[in-house]
């Protein structure tokens, strides 16, 4: 991802972000070293991964886990740890990208 780095006199002072900044504007999951892989077949829809995710990386549809939004997942592994049926496994990021 190419970033246009600005000079010191081209940016607002003090790190102020005019317009505000929300996760909707900034994808924050670009520094993950491992990514969780969710196995829909094994999942029992207990939603503990959704509840315990420190971000909001678990996507739901009609009250059920529908997938993982990797734009926000930091790869912390809490979901793998919390999952009672091993439906989530952490894999190295490079491998995970192919899946």
């Amino acid at each position: 991802m190419a970033i246009d780095l600005k000079k010191y006199d081209e940016i607002p002072i003090a790190g102020v972000v005019p317009g505000g900044s929300t996760p909707e504007m900034n994808k924050t999951g670009d520094w993950r070293s491992e990514r969780p892989i969710w196995d829909e077949e094994t999942c029992i829809q207990c939603l503990q991964c959704w509840q315990n995710c420190p971000d909001a990386a678990f996507e739901t549809e009609e009250g059920e886990i529908a997938g993982i939004n990797y734009d926000y997942c930091k790869g912390c592994g809490i979901c793998e740890n919390i999952c009672p049926v091993d439906a989530i496994s952490m894999v190295p990021e490079e491998e995970g990208e192919d899946e």
Binding site: I11, A14, V17, P18, G19, G20
Partner: protein
């Protein structure tokens, strides 16, 4: 026509509290500490009496005081505080953040020695510890200057080319508790001088939302620090402009980043910050009567340091005694380092000597300083740290 009030007998606390009342900040967050407490006691009384409608936030520590000030300033409120010594030390983490968030908080620092051993009396170890925080620092010689500098500081801090905290320092007890003759300005004169605060990015402006104080990765931290270099670099010129404007109001004749006292034709000069400059003036007068060509340079502004102006003022003298009221253990005093650096480009510049004095409120007399002037006339005088008033 001067818009000063009648001459009064006032303490440093009273003049600063009155300056705050007249400036009428939206928010004042502070925690009591000797020798600052009475500033807040007087100010809280003004609020209780309805003389000023500031929101006073009584917090549980100076760390919280400065944190509340940063939040308030970011919100777009004119914000002030006051502290000293251990309070400033506890505040320090947030002082750096206030400077980096470009929060124009004006704070009175009632200079007091840092522990330990615990001591409540004046020296500059507290404000010097904030030397590199990014705040502007101005030092007052007496209550009058502490008052005048506080009024000027508010405009300086809030200038959009600057937007930085300003510390107005006054020596603990010597200035804070001593009753001196001082003249306040009329209330409306101060109100007109400081005007309405026009925040650049008020967080409460929900029509123009901003995020403030975000995280910087290595790709932007450096650039943001570089902006602070420019911001503080804009302070001297603005300070001079404000002095001129203030002179119109007060009938004063402030005209520089430092005050030179009988310095023009001096062969020997002393450089000292704060109240001891008043003592040094007595010494200069005493020695001048004897025909000795001595003078004083008292920087009003220490951060940013007016190196160029001071070099021009000192380049012609034989020798300079730089008096530090704080130690930088294992090195020279902070003021000495500045003067030494300022004069380092001169081919045939003055001999410069570093003296430490007045730590923990140790009294320094006009006679002590006469001895210092006497000592630096010796061309063979060894360069090493010297101590005024120390039993050795």
């Amino acid at each position: 026509m001067s818009r000063r009030q009648e001459r009064e007998v006032l303490t440093g606390h009273q003049v600063v509290a009155n300056a705050m009342r007249q400036i009428a900040p939206d928010v004042v967050a502070a925690y009591p500490i000797t020798p600052q407490s009475e500033i807040m006691e007087y100010f809280a009384q003004f609020v209780a009496d309805g003389e000023v409608d500031s929101e006073v936030i009584t917090v549980e520590s100076e760390h919280s005081a400065m944190s509340a000030c940063v939040g308030s300033s970011a919100a777009g409120a004119r914000t002030m505080t006051a502290t000293a010594s251990q309070g400033l030390a506890l505040m320090m983490e947030i002082v750096y953040i206030a400077a980096s968030m470009r929060a124009p908080i004006v704070m009175a620092i009632c200079n007091r020695a840092l522990s330990g051993p615990i001591n409540i009396h004046a020296d500059h170890s507290d404000s010097m510890a904030a030397r590199d925080s990014g705040v502007i620092q101005v030092y007052g010689e007496d209550a009058q200057e502490a008052y005048d500098l506080t009024v000027i500081a508010q405009r300086l801090a809030e200038n959009h080319d600057i937007l930085l905290p300003v510390m107005v320092t006054l020596d603990g007890f010597t200035l804070t508790h001593s009753a001196q003759v001082a003249q306040l300005l009329q209330d409306d004169a101060v109100r007109e001088f400081v005007g309405e605060y026009d925040p650049l990015y008020p967080l409460l402006d929900t029509d123009n939302p901003t995020t403030q104080g975000p995280f910087d990765m290595p790709d932007y931290y450096f650039e943001h620090k570089r902006q602070q270099v420019d911001a503080i670099g804009n302070a001297p010129e603005k300070f001079l402009e404000l002095q001129e404007e203030f002179n119109q109001l007060a009938g004063t004749d402030y005209d520089g980043l430092y005050e030179g006292y009988k310095l023009e034709d001096a062969d020997y000069a002393m450089v000292v910050l704060g109240s001891t400059a008043g003592t040094a003036k007595d010494t200069v007068d005493m020695l001048r009567e004897k025909g000795e060509k001595v003078g004083l340079l008292k920087p009003w502004m220490f951060r940013p340091f007016p190196a160029e102006e001071i070099r021009e003022a000192l380049e012609g003298v034989e020798a300079v005694a730089v008096l530090d009221r704080s130690l930088s253990f294992g090195s020279n005093g902070p003021l000495y380092l500045e003067i030494s650096s300022a004069l380092s480009d001169l081919d045939d510049g003055p001999r410069i000597y570093n003296y430490t004095f007045g730590l923990g409120g140790r009294d320094t007399t006009a006679e002590d300083l006469a001895g210092t002037f006497e000592e630096i006339t010796d061309e063979e005088l060894e360069k090493k740290m010297r101590y005024i008033g120390l039993r050795a």
